[in-house]
């Protein structure tokens, strides 16, 4: 299968103060279409920097990055913005929805910045479709403060999906959620992945990484481990287990 993401000897150095910080020190990596990858590591391992580079929010100081076949390592700010708009979908730990703006309008947001203008009616249709995919179409008119954390994250996923990106990037998507909601959100990711969407997720929790297909572990700016997940956790099963466990607690009480 063709590589959607291809990193060739990528370095990232930050010049802050007198000491140069070598955040990423030569990473080569290929992620094929349809993969579900977790990038793991302790804080300071360089995983966030990697995420920013993969997400075209930042450029490598050295090395090359091919996204969906095109070299994006030397594009300027505006060109990167266009790439983010077309090829990438972001899901953040803090949801990052626009407050006092309905779920539907939040999902429409990326289409506002699409180069080829999408008519308003079609924008609405596409946004509703994305909300249906994540199972929250009935809350389209709600504002973020009227939604639970899990629901907000679903809206964020819908927003990430709406421009049919090549890759969905998730940065600690379950960091602000309780276990049960986390599993639900991971279920959404697994469903999307089953439908062929490539997902790259940054996390520092092993049991979250267990829901993906491939784990990449980073330390000190280098990839130290890159393995396929053998016994993949399935969200539906885990959810059922959680329910049973809860019921058991109730019965024993």
């Amino acid at each position: 299968m063709a590589a959607v993401i291809k990193l060739e000897n990528v370095h990232k150095t930050y010049h802050t103060g007198e000491v140069d910080v070598l955040a990423v020190r030569g990473v080569s990596l290929e992620i094929a279409s349809g993969e579900f990858v977790a990038i793991m590591g302790a804080s300071g391992s360089g995983k966030s920097t990697m995420m920013n580079i993969i997400g075209c929010l930042d450029r490598p100081t050295e090395g090359r990055y091919f996204l969906d076949g095109t070299d994006v390592s030397h594009l300027d700010r505006d060109e990167l913005a266009a790439i983010r708009n077309k090829k990438l979908g972001f899901v953040f730990q803090g949801f990052n929805l626009l407050s006092r703006t309905s779920a539907l309008e939040n999902v429409e947001l990326p289409m506002l910045y699409t180069h080829d203008h999408v008519p308003a009616a079609q924008q609405r249709e596409l946004a509703m479709h994305a909300l249906q995919i994540v199972g929250i179409a009935d809350r389209a008119d709600h504002h973020p403060n009227q939604l639970s954390g899990g629901q907000q994250q679903r809206v964020a996923i819908a927003r990430a999906l709406v421009n049919s990106p090549a890759v969905l990037l998730a940065d600690e998507p379950t960091g602000n959620l309780d276990t049960r909601t986390s599993v639900e959100v991971l279920g959404v990711f697994q469903k999307l992945n089953d439908e062929g969407i490539t997902i790259v997720m940054v996390t520092h929790e092993l049991d979250i990484a267990a829901f993906t297909k491939r784990n990449i572990i980073m330390r000190d700016g280098l990839v130290v481990n890159d393995t396929l997940v053998e016994r993949r956790a399935v969200a539906e099963v885990e959810l059922r287990n959680l329910q049973q466990a809860q019921q058991a607690v109730k019965l024993s009480a």
């Binding site: 505006d78 913005a81 983010r84 972001f90 703006t101 947001l109 990326p110 910045y113």
Partner: protein
């Protein structure tokens, strides 16, 4: 990104902080309102002065008898008794571009009529005087060349004379006694109001200059000559021609000063409009300061807004907003604030100007151009003071912006 979507977005952002938006716009409202009202007052004063100057007549050149000195004593203006009726007639005959002249003698006399008396100005004039001054009669007729030749005892009178001497009946055909000589009233003048200098132009009795010189004041020289030139363009050449002619007729040598003074209407107009223009500019400048302060208010609020919405900017950039999209978004918010403030300011400025003109009886002239300029200027204030904060927003790094708490 489409401009319609940007406008809607800006409107929503401004509505989100109603109180803050209102207060920010208030700075512009007061600024624009002040500019409109102040310039209205200035232009009102100017139009009033212009109307007064127009009451002088059309294309008038005034020739005054000048200064005369004898063994060190100087007579002051009008003291030189050298200007004659022949001078006036020569001007009318010989200088190209002169339409007509009216020799003028001024005098003050106690006049009697109807058992009442009044001290007023007696003007001895030619029959064309009213044409020169663009003065019309409400009633009756002007005296004629024939009256001038025959030193007829006839006159036309101003409104003030009627008020003082004929409070209740029609004066035309009646008699007014000047220096024991009865003058028949031929006509009544339309009121002209105050002159540029503030004197009552209607407090006057006009009689033929011949009658004035031979019967009333018994003098042989003129106070001044009213000259009407064909157009404002020839005014300068007419003035030069009069000067040359009079110097020649009065036999003034190279080193002698003029014994007359010539004033074109344009000069008088220029002097007074320069004064009122200065006033308008001054008032406008003072008001503009408040507009600039309003602009700084917008800049301040937009900077706060950019800081507050750093995360929003980050989100928008992450999903693909270009720097210019963000720039446009914040710039349009600033322009919207300032131009909505501008429109309300215009309404308020026009309203308060109207109120002042009714209440204080001040003349107000609010021109369409001053309204348009005020609006464009207020929008420009938005662009100018909104640009820096908007640019700051557009230059944010998306990674830092997303992490901003």
């Amino acid at each position: 990104m489409k401009i319609g979507a940007t406008l809607r977005m800006a409107l929503r952002a401004l509505r989100r902080n109603k109180m803050r938006s209102t207060l920010t716009a208030l700075g512009i409202i007061i600024g624009v309102g002040a500019v409109i009202a102040m310039v209205g007052i200035g232009n009102g004063a100017k139009s009033q002065v212009e109307a007064q100057i127009a009451s002088l007549g059309q294309n008038v050149v005034l020739v005054f008898a000048g200064n005369w000195s004898s063994s060190g004593a100087r007579s002051g203006w009008g003291g030189a008794g050298t200007m004659t009726v022949d001078d006036a007639l020569a001007i009318g005959r010989e200088i190209p571009g002169v339409i007509t002249v009216s020799p003028e003698v001024r005098d003050r006399q106690q006049v009697l009529a109807n058992g009442l008396n009044w001290n007023t100005q007696i003007l001895g004039e030619g029959p064309d005087y009213l044409d020169i001054r663009q003065w019309v009669l409400t009633d009756g007729a002007m005296f004629t060349d024939q009256d001038v030749r025959s030193t007829a005892k006839v006159c036309v009178i101003g409104k003030t004379i009627i008020n003082q001497l004929f409070p209740s009946d029609d004066p035309v055909g009646k008699v007014v006694i000047i220096r024991n000589i009865p003058f028949k009233i031929l006509g009544v003048l339309t009121p002209k109001g105050l002159s540029v200098m503030g004197t009552d132009q209607d407090d006057v009795i006009i009689i033929p200059y011949t009658s004035e010189m031979k019967r009333v004041s018994k003098r042989t020289n003129l106070s001044s000559i009213n000259v009407q030139s064909a157009s404002p363009d020839v005014s300068d050449s007419v003035q030069r021609g009069i000067s040359d002619l009079l110097r020649q007729r009065h036999r003034l040598g190279q080193n002698r000063d003029d014994d007359f003074t010539i004033r074109g209407q344009q000069e008088i107009t220029d002097t007074f409009t320069a004064t009122t223009n200065t006033m308008t500019v001054l008032l406008g400048a003072i008001a503009s300061v408040s507009l600039i302060v309003g602009g700084i208010g917008i800049m301040n609020i937009m900077l706060v807004s950019v800081t507050e919405r750093t995360r929003e900017i980050g989100i928008r950039m992450a999903v693909g907003a270009h720097g210019r999209d963000i720039l446009l978004q914040f710039l349009i918010e600033a322009i919207m604030l300032s131009s909505v403030g501008g429109v309300i300011g215009i309404v308020l400025g026009v309203g308060s100007a109207e109120l002042l003109s009714v209440w204080k009886q001040w003349p107000m002239v609010i021109s369409a151009s001053s309204v348009i300029v005020a609006f464009v200027f207020s929008a420009a204030v938005g662009v100018f003071f909104g640009f820096y904060p908007a640019r700051k927003a557009s230059r944010l790094d998306p990674i830092d912006a997303l992490r901003y708490e």
